[in-house]
C-alpha cells in the first residue's frame, strides 16, 4: 500500500485496485498509485510490469476492468481522452505526436486555435507559443521553423508547451529522455523541477534509476501488474529499488554457461563513419558474447548499421572468419553469415501479417527449393524443428506472427537466422519490450547460440543485462571505444560512468 499522506489534503491523483485483463493476460492486478499535489512521482518497473497499461488507463485509452480513480479526492469514472483533457491531465508521450509540417504555433494550439473573425490568428499563436517557450525554458526556437526542422529535444519542448498551454494540474512524462543527449536531459530536468515549483503534480516514468534518484521525490515500483512499494529515492539505494522491480536474484536471471572462445569470427579495424562513428576496432571470437553499449549519439547504432551493410563506412576494414569482407548491402552481409536482430522488431524484424513459417524461412528460401520451387513440406519441417528448439509458443507454423507475444516474436527473428545458418549475430536491444520470463528465455537462447559456436555482438542499453551475460563489454562514447571491461569487473555504475563520459572528465 502507498504510504498514507500526512497532510490533510487528498492526493492529487489516486488509483486503487486497478485490474485490467487482455484476453487472459492480467496486465494490471490490483495496481495502486498515489501522487501528492506538487511532487515529482516516479513510476518504475520492468517491461511488462504494467506501467504503460496504468498510464493508458489514466489517459482514458484503456478502460479498467475494476478499480477506482480519484483526482484531488474526487472520484472519476468512465474516462475518455477528451474527459481526461478537461480534468487537467496532460501527457508527454515518448513518440512525439506533432504534425511535421506545422509551425510551432500551429502545433501548440492545434484543437484550441486562436482566431480573429473566424480566421486563424497565426501570428498570435506563433507569438504566444514562442513567448511560452521563452518564459518556461528560456529558449528561443528558430524563427518560423516547422516541426520537422526542429531537433528531437526542441520538438519535445514544443510538446511540453502544448501540454502547459492547457494549464494542467497533472503532467505525465513517459520515458521522456529516451531520445535525448545528456545536456538536453539536464535541461529537461531543470524544466520539470520548475514545473513542480508551479504546483503541478508530475508523474515521471522511466527505466533509468539514476534519473529517478536525481529527480523524484517519491517513486512507486510496479511488478507483474501489482504495487510493490512506494519509497523515497533519497532514502532508498538504487540497488534496493532494482531488487523491488525484479524480485529475484539477478544471477538467476542470467543463465550460466561455459564456453571457451575460439577463432576470430569478426574483426573490425579502425571502422569509421563520421561524424557519429570516429574509429572503432575490436575482435569478436566464435563462442563469445561481446557486449557493446553507449548512449544515443555514441556511435553504437552506426556501428551496427555498418556491420550489417545498411550504411557504408568512410574508412576501416572488416574481416569475417579471417577474410576481408566488403559489406555493401544487407544482402552481402547476410551472404557472409551475419545476422541482425534489429531493435525495431515489429517494423524490421518480423513481418507481422505473415505466418511463423514465412518469417522463419524468409532469409533462406533457396535452401528449401528443389528444381526452382520452394517445398512447403521441407519448410514446415524446418519451422517445426525451430519452434521446438527455441520453444516458440505458437499454435503452429501457420499462425500469423502478429498473434504471438513480443518474446516469441523475437524468437521467430532468431529462428529466421538459425534457418539461414548465420554465424555472427548482431543483437540490437534484443530484450526491449519483452516480459521478464521471455527475457530469461532469450538469454538462454543467446547462451545456446554461442555454445554452438556462433559469435554474438550484443548491443544493449540495459547495463545489468550486459554485465549478466556478456563476456566482455565495449563502451562507446563520442564515436570511439573509451573502455573495454571484462564482464566480471563491470558494474552498471561503472558502465554508466564510462558511457556518459564522466570517467574521462575525472
Amino acid at each position: 500500500m502507498p504510504s498514507t499522506d500526512q497532510s490533510a489534503s487528498p492526493p492529487a491523483l489516486a488509483m486503487h485496485g486497478l485490474i485490467k485483463d487482455f484476453g487472459g493476460v492480467r496486465a494490471l492486478d490490483g495496481a495502486e498509485f498515489e501522487a501528492r499535489s506538487g511532487e515529482i512521482h516516479g513510476l518504475v518497473g520492468q517491461n511488462g510490469a504494467g506501467k504503460s497499461t496504468l498510464i493508458k488507463v489514466l489517459a482514458g485509452i484503456y478502460r479498467p476492468d475494476e478499480g477506482r480513480i480519484a483526482i484531488d479526492g474526487q472520484p472519476v469514472s468512465d474516462l475518455t481522452p477528451h474527459k481526461v483533457d478537461r480534468l487537467g491531465i496532460q501527457f508527454i508521450h515518448q513518440d512525439r505526436l506533432l504534425v511535421p509540417s506545422f509551425t510551432v504555433g500551429e502545433a501548440v494550439f492545434l484543437g484550441r486555435e486562436r482566431t480573429a473573425a473566424g480566421l486563424l490568428a497565426r501570428r498570435r499563436m506563433e507569438r504566444e507559443a514562442r513567448a511560452l517557450i521563452a518564459e518556461q525554458f528560456g529558449v528561443e526556437l528558430p524563427k518560423g521553423a516547422l516541426i520537422s526542422e526542429l531537433t528531437t529535444a526542441q520538438q519535445q519542448l514544443v510538446q511540453i508547451v502544448r501540454a502547459l498551454a492547457q494549464k494542467p494540474r497533472i503532467l505525465v512524462f513517459d520515458e521522456p529522455t529516451a531520445a535525448l543527449v545528456k545536456r538536453e536531459v539536464d535541461r529537461l530536468f531543470a524544466i520539470i523541477e520548475r514545473l513542480r515549483g508551479q504546483g503541478i503534480t508530475i508523474v515521471y516514468i522511466s527505466h533509468y534509476l539514476q534519473e529517478i534518484e536525481r529527480l523524484c521525490d517519491r517513486v512507486t515500483v510496479l511488478r507483474n501488474g501489482r504495487h510493490v512499494g512506494t519509497v523515497s529515492p533519497a532514502a532508498t539505494p538504487a540497488r534496493e529499488i532494482a531488487r523491488m522491480m525484479v524480485a529475484r536474484d539477478i544471477g538467476e536471471l542470467f543463465p550460466k554457461r561455459q564456453v571457451t572462445p575460439g577463432a576470430p569470427a569478426l574483426a573490425v579495424r579502425k571502422l569509421a563513419r563520421r561524424p557519429h562513428l570516429q574509429e572503432v576496432s575490436f575482435t569478436l571470437r566464435r563462442g563469445e558474447i561481446l557486449g557493446v553499449t553507449g548512449l544515443l549519439g555514441s556511435g553504437v547504432k552506426e556501428l551496427v548499421r555498418l556491420l550489417f551493410g545498411l550504411d557504408k563506412p568512410d574508412a576501416g576494414q572488416v574481416e569475417i572468419g579471417g577474410q576481408a569482407a566488403t559489406l555493401g548491402s544487407p544482402a552481402a552481409a547476410v551472404a557472409r553469415g551475419i545476422a541482425l536482430v534489429p531493435e525495431d522488431r515489429r517494423g524490421q524484424g518480423v513481418a507481422l501479417d505473415a505466418s511463423v513459417r514465412d518469417n522463419t524461412t524468409l532469409a533462406s528460401l533457396a535452401r528449401f527449393a528443389r528444381g526452382g520451387l520452394v517445398r512447403r513440406s521441407e519448410e514446415d519441417g524446418e519451422t517445426r524443428r525451430l519452434i521446438e528448439e527455441l520453444r516458440i509458443r505458437t499454435p503452429g507454423p501457420d499462425t500469423a506472427v502478429r498473434d504471438l507475444s513480443g518474446g516469441n516474436q523475437q524468437k521467430v527473428v532468431i529462428a529466421k537466422w538459425l534457418a539461414r545458418r548465420s554465424e555472427v549475430y548482431l543483437l540490437d536491444e534484443p530484450t526491449v519490450g519483452v516480459d521478464i520470463a521471455a527475457k530469461v528465455e532469450i538469454y538462454r537462447l543467446i547462451g545456446e547460440l554461442v555454445e554452438q559456436g556462433a559469435a554474438v555482438l550484443l548491443v544493449s542499453s540495459d547495463l545489468d543485462e550486459l554485465a549478466g551475460i556478456a563476456d566482455r563489454i565495449l563502451v562507446l562514447y563520442r564515436g570511439t571505444v573509451v573502455r573495454e571491461l571484462p564482464a566480471k569487473d563491470a558494474s552498471s555504475d561503472a558502465l554508466l560512468a564510462w558511457s556518459t563520459g564522466a570517467m574521462e572528465a575525472a
Partner: protein, 332 residues
C-alpha cells in the same frame, strides 16, 4: 507474464469470418453464373462460353496478371497500357514495313520491356513511389505515341500483309481450343507458380507485405523490384501483341482501357487469399467475374451502358462485403 496464445475457441471465432471473406469471390461468381444460366438460355452454351473467354477474358486476364505482380510487391503499375501500346506499335509498324513476323514479335516484346525498364529506373533508381512513377510513364508514353503517329492515327494492316502466324495467334486453335486461351492459360499457370512457389515470388510477396523486413533480412530487394516491373511490362506486351493480331492494327492509347478493370480485378482477387494478399488465381476469378457479368448482362438485354453500371455496382458490393468482413474479422 507471457502473453497468452489464442484459445481454441478464439480460433474458431476467427475462422468463420475468414471463410466468409475467402469464399466471397467464388460464391459471387457461382451466383452470377447460375443467375445468367437461369435467365438466359443463350448463356450456358459452349459457343457463348468460349466467346466470353476469348473476347472478354483473355486480354484483361493477361494485363491483370501483370498488375497482380506489381501490387504483390507493394506497388502498382498504372502504365500497363503504355507497355501494351508500345508493344503493339512496334509490332504493327514492323509488319507494315515488311519485316518478318519473328522480328516484329521480338521488337514488340522489347518495346513493352522499354516501358518496364523506365519504370524500374524511376522506382528503384530514383526512389519515386510506384503510383507516381508509373503515372509519369503513362503520360510520357501518351506523348510518344502521339508524336510517332502524327497525333494518334491508327496503323492498319491490309489483309495481304498480316502474317499467318499472327492470324494463328489471334484466331487459330490447337486441339480445338483457341490459341489465345492456350496463351492465357500458360501465363496463368506460370505466374501462379512463380508468385506462390519460387523463391523469387516468395521474396516479392515479402517485399509487398513489409519491405523493411525484407531489406533487414538481406533479400535483394532492389533487384527483385526491377525484375517485377520488367516482368510486368513483358507480360503486358504479350497482351499488346495479341490485341494487334486480333484487330490487325495498332490503335494509339488503346491499352489504357484495361487499366482500371485490371486494378479492380487484382484487388477483388485479394479476397481469395486468407491474408488478403494479391494472388494470380484470385485475380483470374476477378477477371472472370467481370467477363461473365459483361456478357450475361448483354444476353439478358441490358445495353452496353447498363452493363457498365451493373459491373460497377457488383465490384463495389464485392469490395464492401470483403472489407466489411475483414473489419469484422479484426474485431472478432
Amino acid at each position: 507474464m507471457a502473453q497468452a496464445t489464442l484459445t481454441p475457441a478464439q480460433h474458431r471465432r476467427r475462422r468463420l469470418p475468414d471463410l466468409v471473406f475467402q469464399m466471397g469471390l467464388p460464391l459471387a461468381l457461382l451466383l452470377v453464373v447460375l443467375f445468367f444460366a437461369w435467365s438466359s438460355p443463350a448463356f450456358l452454351v459452349p459457343s457463348n462460353l468460349e466467346s466470353v473467354l476469348v473476347n472478354n477474358f483473355t486480354l484483361l486476364a493477361i494485363v491483370s496478371i501483370a498488375m497482380t505482380l506489381a501490387v504483390a510487391s507493394g506497388g502498382i503499375d498504372l502504365s500497363v497500357g503504355t507497355a501494351l501500346d508500345f508493344a503493339s506499335l512496334l509490332f504493327v509498324s514492323l509488319i507494315a514495313a515488311g519485316q518478318p513476323f519473328g522480328i516484329a514479335l521480338l521488337a514488340g516484346l522489347l518495346g513493352g520491356l522499354g516501358a518496364g525498364l523506365f519504370n524500374a529506373f524511376l522506382i528503384v533508381g530514383l526512389g519515386i513511389t510506384p503510383f507516381l512513377a508509373t503515372l509519369g510513364t503513362l503520360f510520357i508514353g501518351r506523348s510518344v505515341q502521339q508524336l510517332t503517329t502524327g497525333g494518334g492515327i491508327p496503323i492498319y494492316l491490309s489483309k495481304a500483309k498480316v502474317p499467318e502466324a499472327a492470324t494463328f495467334l489471334a484466331h487459330g486453335d490447337i486441339l480445338g481450343i483457341a490459341t489465345p486461351l492456350w496463351v492465357v492459360t500458360i501465363l496463368i499457370v506460370l505466374f501462379t507458380v512463380l508468385l506462390r512457389a519460387t523463391p523469387f515470388g516468395r521474396r516479392v510477396t515479402a517485399i509487398g507485405v513489409q519491405p523493411a523486413v525484407a531489406w533487414y533480412s538481406g533479400l535483394p530487394v532492389r533487384r527483385d523490384l526491377v525484375l517485377v516491373y520488367l516482368l510486368s511490362a513483358l507480360v503486358v506486351a504479350v497482351a499488346g501483341l495479341m490485341l494487334s493480331a486480333t484487330v490487325n492494327a495498332y490503335v494509339p492509347s488503346s491499352g489504357n482501357a484495361f487499366l482500371l478493370n485490371a486494378i479492380g480485378a487484382t484487388f477483388i482477387g485479394t479476397t481469395l487469399d486468407r491474408r488478403g494478399r494479391p494472388n494470380v488465381p484470385g485475380t483470374v476469378l476477378g477477371v472472370l467475374l467481370l467477363a461473365v457479368v459483361a456478357n450475361g448482362l448483354l444476353l439478358i438485354g441490358w445495353n452496353f451502358y447498363w452493363q457498365q453500371v451493373g459491373t460497377g455496382v457488383l465490384i463495389f458490393l464485392v469490395l464492401v462485403a470483403s472489407f466489411a468482413s475483414r473489419r469484422w474479422r479484426k474485431a472478432g
